[in-house]
Point group: C2
Chain length 177, copies 2
Amino acid sequence: MRFGHRKGRDTRITTHVGLVARAFGADEFILANTDAKGPLQTITDICSRWGGAEFKTGTVTNWKKAITDFQKNGGVVCHLTMYGMPLSDSLPKLQQHLGQKKNLLVFVGAEKVPSEIYDLVDFNVAVGNQPHSEVGALAVFLDRLLDGRPVEDTSRFSDAKLSIVPQEHGKKTLEKT
Amino acid sequence: MRFGHRKGRDTRITTHVGLVARAFGADEFILANTDAKGPLQTITDICSRWGGAEFKTGTVTNWKKAITDFQKNGGVVCHLTMYGMPLSDSLPKLQQHLGQKKNLLVFVGAEKVPSEIYDLVDFNVAVGNQPHSEVGALAVFLDRLLDGRPVEDTSRFSDAKLSIVPQEHGKKTLEKT
């Protein structure tokens, strides 16, 4: 769940957050507290060409209810923030919770998030306590949580029209006709 | 080295690339093929508040010469691209090269990069062969290359005016006076 989005200024960042979610193993990208349609359309377009039709996108207006409902249904909510606890300390605790087959919702902000989010979530996790990027934080968080598997195993994108044949030099794509 | 930057549209992405470079262990951020000043100013401001005065920023206009000069001086150049070879296969080869104390330049594009870059660089590396984000790709690449150390060991930021005391819930910063 990406919270907030300033039109124009945030368009590409929000799109990148969604594409990172898709590439690094999330099932769904939810945009909260904005009526921006552009980023979701871009992600849907990419799914239709590059596969992963099962990847869902959506919006919520009442983000607080969405989070508490998710928790009531047994899900765990983790907020990525530079003010949180270090990633390496947090991951084992989080994995212990998730071991019981609970669902995980990862919450990332735009520049400002409501202060109540820090108390509402189950974990506040810092991918480093330095300012950098919600895109980078989400990518590294998912990469470490899932042991790098989603970028290696791309079988979930096997419905793709377009796919890449990795090259040492140059570009090669295959197109399904 | 970040290649290209479309004013307005790319401002925040370029800034995020630079901040990820700083947070995940690079020594320098170079902006190529643009005269945009905003992102570099933002990064310099963050260094002055959050530490790491040794982190350098700069621009180059002749990116090709910059890359070939770097290689002539014994450096290794790695281009992050979805068309490249998988990260897990590339890392051991890259690390073998770097073991001889060579410097590394990581090249990331904006949407389009000149096709000659694929032949010019030593390695084309894919952080997954799916479209996502140069910000996410750089973060995961550096995190894996450096075994996650830079986000844990923040001693290089000890000159900071502002620092964070990690909290399970809430925000706490320390300010040096």
